[in-house]
Every structure is written in structure tokens, then in C-alpha cells.
């Protein structure tokens, strides 16, 4: 058979290379790595992360190698898995006898659901010495007040816009209120552009709009308590639906937006922004890692600007609040917890954080000390808004328990497609609905 010898030879070569790389001190990261762990027992940690393509793939490999160099008794086996596959693999892995020692975590209600498997390691005491570096963000990764996950980056959602298209439509400053946004939309339409690209086919981008209206209209305490109680009957939520309906009435989105996916391919909403067919998109800071691949223009990143979600007059919400989330990792109970905790601490050290931001483009670092390394002005604006926010509102589908969060996304996507009403949205998070 043709390929029978070659893959073996190549596999051996690759394995040797990896082994050599893993045990040589080749990394130039100047991180504040902790002193060698107290145990001298040999430990191997299996690490499932979602960095399956470059540049993140390479960065994680070098991080693992650098850690091994300073902790020779700890070996990290990097297993990159495409992000979407975690939904299928994690429940199965957590049910098995040997789940991965470290795995990709998105926090919030999803983490709380996984916590019921009993296999997540409680890192509260181990991380108490250093977790304060991460500021309030780490709270979103707790379950019942205990630290079961640790973030390595943060995301904030805002409007990404094409400065060139704004200029062509005669818009000099980004809108600060919804009314201004609507009039800017009209100017953009007159100039022949789609004002806002929306990935309705992927469902979750729809949710950003409604959730931001809720964040602008609900006071912090009402919002936090509603999410905790999984109950959206407070009047500000219905007001959000009303305001959203009015906004949608101005037709700011591209035609056929219900089938447009967010990030995949030519017709995606990110693609429309990247190719100058649409002027704005409400998205997270990951936009800077998405759009370059979708266009042949090399100047796309400098063509993009960022502004926060506009104000809603009369809203009870804090005007600086932002919708946010992040990526992180959890350890499982079978792992060597001190080693796992030290590794996650290493990932959150300034040096590694800087590497993640500048080389791997993960967005905003969890450790704000690394923000100095951001060069893209749009990202800097996003970071500034995030740092200056009165509080972070986690995107609802992560904040809520998974069942409720997904039901909300679906109800909102249906609403955008013309099916359903305010009550289907409000009631979607109660357990017997949405079927």
C-alpha cells in the first residue's frame, strides 16, 4: 500500500522532534514562572486545548515546552482539538475513567453544568495566592464561590466598523446613541453599503443585540439577580425587546441575514465586513483574528475601528457596562493539582500573556498587565472600554446554565427570523419551554 511506510517514518520524525523540543530550553519567554513545584514526582498532564491551527498551535507548543524546561518533572502532552468538537467530546470525556487533565473551558453556566460531573478540580486554595492578578474577571469562572476554571484571555463585544466606508458616507464620528446609529445607518444605505452585517444563521450574533439592549436598560443589580435566578420577567427585559424591534424596523442588516453565518466563508457577516460590503458588525474582539483570512486586502486591520454599543436614553443600565466573556482552562480531579495550577498560573503570567496577545491574537489578555503590548488601535479602544467598564456582563448563553442559555439563543434567532414574540424570549429560559 502506497502510504504505509511514509506515515510511519514521518510520524517517528515528528515524535522525535516533539520530544526534543519538549525537553530543551528553547523558549525565550521571560515569564514570571514560579519556582519548581514542591513535588519531584514525575507528572504528565494531558492538555486538550482549541489551538488546532497556527498561530495559536505553535504558541501553545512553546508554552508547554517552556514550562517543562522550568519544571522538568512535569511533562505536558498538547492535544489540539477543533473548538466545535468540544461540545461532543467533553460530556463523553467527563463520563469516562480518564478525562484529560486540563481542558478548554468557557466559564459561566456551562462550567456549572460540567461541575455536576464531579470531575472538575477545585483550584480555590491553590490559586488564592495569585488569582487576584486577573482582577474581577476570574469571578466569572467560579461555581458556588469556588474557582473551578481559570481564564487566559478576555473578550468584549462592541461595534467593529470600516473607517473608509464611514468616511465615504460622510460620517465623521462613531454614533454614541441608538438614534445616532440609526441615522448613520441611513447615511450608509444612501451611500450604497449595508449598514450592519449580522450572522443570524449562527444564532449567537443575534443574541448580542438583544443582550446589549438589556444591559443598557437593566440596572446592574436587576441584571445580575435575574441571571442568577434564571428569570427574565423584570420589565427591563421586555423593554429590551421593544427597543430592539424598533431598531430592527429600520432594516439595518443585509438581505437574507437569517442564513448568514458569522465567520465561515464568503457570505459570512465577518466576510461582508472584511470585503467592504457592510460597514459595521457587532462582534467580539476576536474579529481581528477572523477578518484577515476572509479578504485579500492587506490593510484590513488598519481599516477597522471600534466603538462601544451606543447608549439607550432613559436606560437604567450603567453606561459603561460591556458584554464580555473569555477563554480558559479547567483541571480535572485526576490530575496532579499543584502541577496543573502552576501551569495555569504560568499561562497567566505577563510574559506568556504578552505572547498570546501579540503572536496568537487571542484578543484581550486575562492579565491586564499585558495590555501594553496591543498595537492595533481598534483593539486598544476595545481594551480601554473593557478596563473602564463599571462591570462585565457575561454573554447570557454562557452566564445562564447551558440549557437556558441555548434556549435563549434559539428564541432570539427565531425572533429575528420573524417567529415568536417577547414572551417566547422571556420564557425561553424556563425549563419546560422552547420545545
Amino acid at each position: 500500500m502506497r502510504g504505509s511506510r511514509r506515515p510511519v517514518i514521518v510520524a517517528v520524525a515528528v515524535a522525535t522532534a516533539v520530544a526534543i523540543a519538549a525537553c530543551s530550553s528553547s523558549s525565550s519567554t521571560s515569564g514570571t514562572s514560579s519556582s519548581s513545584s514542591s513535588s519531584s514526582v514525575k507528572v504528565t498532564l494531558t492538555w486538550w486545548n482549541n489551538g488546532n491551527t497556527q498561530p495559536l498551535l505553535g504558541v501553545w507548543q512553546s508554552v508547554a515546552a517552556a514550562f517543562h524546561a522550568t519544571h522538568p518533572n512535569v511533562t505536558i502532552t498538547v492535544v489540539p482539538i477543533q473548538s466545535d468538537l468540544f461540545t461532543t467530546k467533553m460530556p463523553i470525556a467527563l463520563k469516562s475513567d480518564n478525562p484529560p487533565d486540563i481542558f478548554q473551558q468557557w466559564g459561566g453556566g456551562q462550567e456549572a453544568t460540567q461541575y455536576t460531573s464531579g470531575k472538575l478540580a477545585n483550584l480555590s486554595s491553590l490559586s488564592s495566592g495569585w488569582i487576584s492578578e486577573l482582577g474581577p474577571a476570574a469571578a466569572g469562572w467560579q461555581v458556588n464561590g469556588a474557582q473551578y476554571g481559570i481564564p487566559y484571555d478576555q473578550h468584549v463585544v462592541g461595534f467593529w466598523y470600516r473607517k473608509d466606508l464611514f468616511a465615504k458616507a460622510g460620517i465623521t464620528t462613531p454614533p454614541a446613541t441608538i438614534a445616532q446609529l440609526e441615522s448613520d445607518d441611513a447615511k450608509l444605505k444612501a451611500a450604497g453599503f449595508t449598514p450592519i452585517a449580522l450572522g443570524g444563521g449562527s444564532r449567537w450574533p443575534d443574541a448580542f443585540f438583544w443582550e446589549y439592549f438589556a444591559v443598557r436598560l437593566c440596572s446592574e443589580s436587576v441584571l445580575q439577580s435575574s441571571i442568577k435566578a434564571v428569570n427574565m420577567t423584570a420589565p427591563c427585559f421586555s423593554q429590551a425587546t421593544t427597543d430592539l424591534t424598533a431598531f430592527m424596523g429600520t432594516n439595518p442588516f443585509q438581505g437574507g441575514f437569517n442564513a448568514t453565518q458569522a465567520q465561515t466563508g464568503a457570505g459570512s457577516s465577518a466576510g461582508l465586513l472584511a470585503n467592504g460590503k457592510a460597514a459595521m458588525e457587532l462582534q467580539g474582539d476576536w474579529e481581528t483574528s477572523v477578518v484577515p483570512a476572509l479578504t485579500s486586502s492587506t490593510t484590513i486591520l488598519s481599516d477597522l475601528g471600534w466603538f462601544p454599543f451606543p447608549q439607550v436614553p432613559g436606560g437604567a443600565g450603567n453606561p459603561t457596562a460591556v458584554l464580555s466573556g473569555g477563554d480558559g482552562f479547567s483541571c480535572t480531579t485526576g490530575a496532579s493539582e499543584p502541577a496543573c495550577d502552576e501551569f495555569l498560573q504560568y499561562i497567566d503570567s505577563t510574559g506568556v500573556q504578552e505572547e498570546l496577545v501579540s503572536k496568537a491574537n487571542v484578543g484581550l489578555p486575562a492579565n491586564s498587565a499585558a495590555e501594553a503590548v496591543l498595537t492595533n488601535p481598534a483593539l486598544q479602544a476595545a481594551a480601554k472600554a473593557h478596563a473602564g467598564a463599571a462591570y462585565d456582563a457575561e454573554y447570557f448563553d454562557i452566564a445562564f446554565p447551558t440549557t437556558a442559555g441555548q434556549a435563549l439563543d434559539n428564541a432570539l434567532a427565531d425572533f429575528f427570523a420573524g417567529k415568536g414574540s417577547n414572551s417566547t424570549i422571556i420564557n425561553s429560559v424556563s425549563s419546560s419551554s422552547g420545545h
Binding site: 461532543t88 455536576t116 442564513a259 465561515t264 464568503a266 420573524g418 420545545h435
Partner: protein
Amino acid sequence: MARTQSARAAAAGRDIVSRPAAAGVPKSRAPRSRRRLRKAVELTVLIGPPVVLFVGFVIVPMIFAAWYSLYNWSGFGPLNDFIGGRNYTGVLSGPVFHQALEHNVIIAVLSVVIQLPISIGLALLLNRRVRGRTFLRLAVFAPFVLSEATTAVMWYELLQPGGPVDAVLKGVGLGGLVHYWLASTSLVLYTVFVVATWKYIGFGIVLLLAGLQGIPPELREAAAIDGATPWQATRAITLPLLAPTIRIWIFLSVIGSLQLFDLVWIMTLGGPANASTTMLTYQYINGVQRTQFGYGATVSVVLFAISLVFALAYQRYALRRDTAGALTRAVM
């Protein structure tokens, strides 16, 4: 219609065995019990391994999965919230599930009404000794080899507003037919059907070609001698002889329609607003995404029950007649 002796024997529940040996031909007549033992051994050897493999890797997981349907379970943690039939009432009364079932049935019916004639026509065409026959068969079969995931990704790109499909339609002057193929709630299900047809025609062709192999060309020659037109010959001879294969095709096609998932999921996620939802996309959204694993298992059991009813009914009324390839008597 039992036309051969073997078929009649099978229908009557007897083994397809020889007639009593012709007189004078020596044959060791083993005692009845020995023959029965022999038969039992043969059956064990023949049926044993397949059944063991099948029960172990298919039936056992199936039973466990059905067991989960009695619980309220997220897939994580222990199975400790027994709720009996509550999942079932939830599924069976859910309007979205009804919609999904309706969509599956529509696709099943369309596949018989539209895909079947196309498959038969193509199989007949591809059975003739035309130049380049192998290439033609390959071309028609190739979409079947493509994985569902890639088919969906590819067609998603092709069907974008202003994308290649729209461009082709405009190019041949049919620009008026351009619609939002995936965004329109009234069209999306049929768009999915067209893509599924494109993909699965190859399967039908392969099956029908195999069926056509069993039909001797002399039959058509004989008909030609009798003055029949090719179409008459097809109608009177080929199609009836192909009927058993067609019946298998229908069976597999309906089951496949009921289980449609991958294509729909990647192209439309069952949307927009559940316009293209199928029972299995419904199951994935509720069972996996919403981590209601027990509920998802319930959907699978309900789907199984629906398919079983169809299978049993089909077995009884349609496939029973295929006790013969309906071949040999006609030749005699």
C-alpha cells in the same frame, strides 16, 4: 408471487432444499436427528458471529441509550433524576417536534416521488453499453463519496446570495428564479432536499445497477423480436424485474429521510426559525447543545418507534412479495 420452487419453499417456511433425490442416485441419507443437528450447527456458524457483533455493538448501546430517556440527565454526573415518561410527553406534545416530524415526512415522500424516477432513469441509461460508461457512472456516483459535512459546506457556499448558483441562473437567463435559498423560511426545506438528492442519487444508481445485472438481455431481445418498442420493453420487462430492488431502495430511502441530520445541521442548523428542522437536528439542539441528554435519548426512541412502525408495515405489505427475484420462471 412465489414463482420458483425455492421461493415457494421459503414462503412456506421450509428450507430451500433439494427435491427428493432422483431415483437411483446414491445419496447418504443421514438420520433426521443428524440432519437437524447439522442444520443447527450450520445456522450457528452462519448466524452466530453476525448476531454477536451486532448485539454487542449496536443493540446493547441502543438499550442503554433508551434507558437514559427515562431520566432528566445532562450527560454529566450520575443518573439520579428518574422522571419516567415525562420526557416522552414533552417530546410528543412539542410543537417544534411536530414540525420536525412533518419535515422528515415531506422529505421522505419527495424522495420517493422525485428521486426514485430520476434514479431509475439514470440507472437504465447507465446500464447500456455506451462509450464512456464507466466515466459516466463515476461522475454520477462521485457526490455519494463526498462526506456529508463537506457537501454541506460546499453547497452552503454555492447557495450564498449572489454566489455561484445565482450567477449561473442569471447567466442562462433564469435570473427571475433567484431567491434566498437558505434564508427563506418557505424555501429552505426544499433547498435541503435538492442538495440531499444531489448527494444520494449515487447510492440509488449503484443499487439499481446491481438489480439490473440480474436481468438477462435476451428478454428484451425476445420482446424486440415480438415488435415491442424499447419503452414497451422497459415497462413490461425491466421495471417489473427491477421491482424488488426498487422496493429495497424505497425502504432505505425512507429510513434515511427520517434520519437526516448532517446535511441540514451544517447548512442551516435546522433554521431559520425551525423552517428546516428535522427530528435529529431537534434532538441535537435539545439533547446535546442544551445538555438535556435524557430528552435527546427520548427523541431517538420516538424516532426509532416511528421507523419501526414503517418498517413493519412495509415488511408486511411490500417486501413479502419479494420471495422471488421473479426471474427464473420467466425464462423457462
